[in-house]
């Protein structure tokens, strides 16, 4: 699935990285706890979260996560968006809640990220 499809499915507004919407995502991870996000390791994952501080973007940067969906219509501040733009991370916001967003993407074949143990 590419990010353009994610945007359409979630009726999302793209906040940063408009040039990278052809980027493919193969799995998803949904969490407000960045400590947990940092424990899984996989390429081409999209992060869905309600957490909108700079550490969401920093965590994505470290994990090579190329896209973040902010749910419940949450939007990060300007500094956080600037950071995401600089790093080249696609961010978007959707009015849908986390559960619904995950359900829509899962129904379309996007599976959960594998957790390394």
């Amino acid at each position: 699935m590419n990010l353009r499809q994610v945007v359409a499915l979630l009726n999302a507004d793209v906040l940063t990285g408009k040039d990278f919407l052809d980027r493919e995502v193969h799995t998803a991870f949904a969490c407000d706890l960045m400590s947990d996000v940092l424990t899984f390791s996989e390429n081409s994952t999209i992060l869905l979260t309600g957490l909108v501080n700079t550490h969401t973007v920093r965590t994505a940067e470290m994990m090579d996560i190329g896209a973040i969906v902010f749910v419940r219509n949450k939007k990060p501040d300007k500094e956080t968006l600037k950071l995401a733009e600089e790093i080249g991370i696609v961010t978007m916001t959707t009015e849908k809640i986390l559960y619904t967003s995950c359900g829509i993407l899962f129904n379309q074949g996007l599976k959960g990220a594998y957790i390394h143990r």
């Binding site: 700079t54 965590t59 940067e61």
Partner: protein, 139 residues
């Protein structure tokens, strides 16, 4: 390749700057052509160590040494030290504040995750003096 050394001062409770050192380390590794898998592992470990210094310590520093066959990250703070290292290494054990949890951290996963990302992991701590982590990754 010559040994490259990088040094970063990390301030306590500076949540705005937190992550910048790890971000710079990641950029350097990318520029050196280190594989994306190793770059990711080292970046995660460095970020966890950096957040630990910001969250739990009186401040400290992160030193990065890169040579032909390995990367060594040394994170050393100025205390207060860890009372029970075995407990701190357990997944889920945390002493983090509510404020830190609101930022998405403090789940008690940091040290175990650093160990998981490292090829070799060393931790030592003396109460009222320091905590030191040495994270070695082979190239």
């Amino acid at each position: 390749m010559r040994i490259i050394k990088l040094l970063y001062e990390i301030e306590k409770e500076d949540f705005v700057k937190a992550g910048q050192a790890s971000s710079e380390v990641k950029k350097v590794l990318k520029q050196l052509g280190v594989s994306s898998e190793i770059t990711r592992r080292v970046s995660i470990a460095t970020y966890e160590a950096e957040m630990n210094i910001v969250i739990h310590s009186f401040g400290g520093k992160i030193e990065v040494e890169i040579d032909i066959n390995k990367i060594i990250i040394t994170a050393r703070d100025r205390g207060p030290g860890i009372e029970n290292i075995d407990l701190a290494m357990q997944e889920g054990y945390t002493t983090a504040s509510e404020k830190v949890r609101e930022l998405g951290f403090g789940a008690g996963m940091g040290l175990p995750n650093i160990k998981r990302c490292a090829d070799e992991f060393y931790i030592n701590s003396i109460i009222d003096e320091y905590t030191e982590l040495k994270i070695t990754t082979y190239l």
